[in-house]
Symmetry: C2
Subunit: 263 residues, 2 copies
């Protein structure tokens, strides 16, 4: 069993110091084994160009992730947080997976949404699973619009994920239709950390609609936030319980797959 926390808040655009201060405090104060923050939580979301986002981008070894890593080590907590990741000249829409005693890793968003294409490079990390022995948990990460592609969660589950976390900046509600299915069809836990608030650039306003949630491996909603408030959702989960993929004496949702017939 482990205690999982999802943090919903309203990152301010460009305000890395302020956003980070909130997250360091929240990560320190939240009594959980793992804490998941939204997509691009250090920087805000609605950038318009590569030049603009480069100003707030940092490498995985930069001050923002280092500050969160310090909290993670001090409090013995896993932290997953979205941030604009600088790698040489290139910026990715990434999530840092910070595990005490391990080197942090970055998942780089595979499927870019809308004007992210003007700001970020397409992710090249692929979908990977981080084993966390102390929690007996295999952690997979995807980001926001990755939800739209059943292949994303499927790939993580086939690679052994018990729990998929999904830092998000969702601007529509349609993901609510698919998120429970992602959990059910793979028999994994799914934690969606979404943000709230609005960001306006020129004529265009984006409304981020909260409703962060933790889904159990049968697709049931175990915890859910409203669409506009700051919130910390906390749920106890049992990662090992996801590993038996059979559900009767004959069927097993992974063993029953027939990839030779899949496009």
């Amino acid at each position: 069993m482990m205690r999982l926390a999802v943090v919903q808040f309203r990152p301010a655009l460009h305000a890395v110091h302020e956003n980070l201060e909130f997250m360091v405090r929240t990560a320190s104060d939240t009594d959980a084994h793992m804490i998941v923050f939204p997509e691009l939580a250090t920087s805000g979301y609605f950038f318009l160009s590569r030049d603009e986002v480069r100003v707030v981008a940092e490498p995985l070894t930069g001050p923002s992730i280092t500050a969160l890593r310090d909290v993670a080590e001090r409090m013995d907590r896993v932290i997953v947080v979205g941030f604009p990741e600088l790698d040489g000249d290139v910026v990715y829409n990434s999530a840092a997976i910070i595990v005490p005693g391990q080197e942090p890793r970055a998942y780089r968003k595979t499927h870019l949404f809308y004007k992210e294409r003007h700001c970020f490079a397409e992710g090249n990390s692929g979908f990977f699973v981080v084993n966390i022995p102390r929690l007996d948990c295999n952690l997979g990460t995807m980001i926001c619009y990755d939800w739209r592609f059943p292949e994303a969660a499927r790939t993580l589950a086939l690679r052994g994920a018990d729990l998929i976390v999904c830092p998000s900046n969702l601007v529509t509600n349609v993901s609510h239709i698919s998120m429970p299915s992602r959990a059910l069809e793979n028999k994994v836990y799914l934690a969606v950390a979404n943000r709230t608030g609005t960001e306006t650039r020129g004529d265009e306003e984006l409304l981020f609609n909260g409703a962060s949630a933790i889904y159990g491996f049968n697709g049931q909603r175990m915890a859910e936030a409203d669409d506009h408030s700051d919130a910390v959702l906390i749920t106890d989960i049992d990662p090992a319980a996801t590993r038996k993929k059979s559900f009767n004496s004959i069927n097993d949702i992974f063993a029953d797959r027939r990839p030779e017939f899949y496009a």
Copy 2:
């Protein structure tokens, strides 16, 4: 635009003549361009052995499908119906796709559920799409437990399906979590023709829970039956409307796929 009908009823085990009579009458009386019946609708469901199911199995050219083909030709209606298909010595859990003016085809269930494995051979037809020029519709078929595998509907959609029909004999309610997502994630219509009633063999009773439904390509439920009554659901759909997979000036749910990162 085309008019789609889904028929929910209670096939009687072994009673091919009676089941067929009901379907011939219903297919004749239902004013729709396409009529979808449940899985194994000619024969009932809960067989225990290959020998038992072989008694009611027929080839695609056998009397049952021929009788329905006669109705299809006479009334100019497409009919999809589940039946135990005999091919040489082997029996498949199949769905006949009967299109006026075309040779019927059989989709053979890819993922077998529970004791079907004692009765049927694993399907070898793969997932295919039938073009119906007169309806401007590309029709894909999957059967019941195939819903559990996102790869099934995905494969049909990538092969051009506008509409996926899913003859079913569902015995749990969990599919209700995933069916809307199958429609949404692929931007296709989805028609689930489930049966009602119970079948008991020895100590084991199967309860088939109806709730047949037609889903629009945004995952919305356009029509739904209750869990126990005979019903004919009829909905007008626009197959061509599913073909534009973009949803803003930048994103397209098929063009955005990155198969090189999928397991």
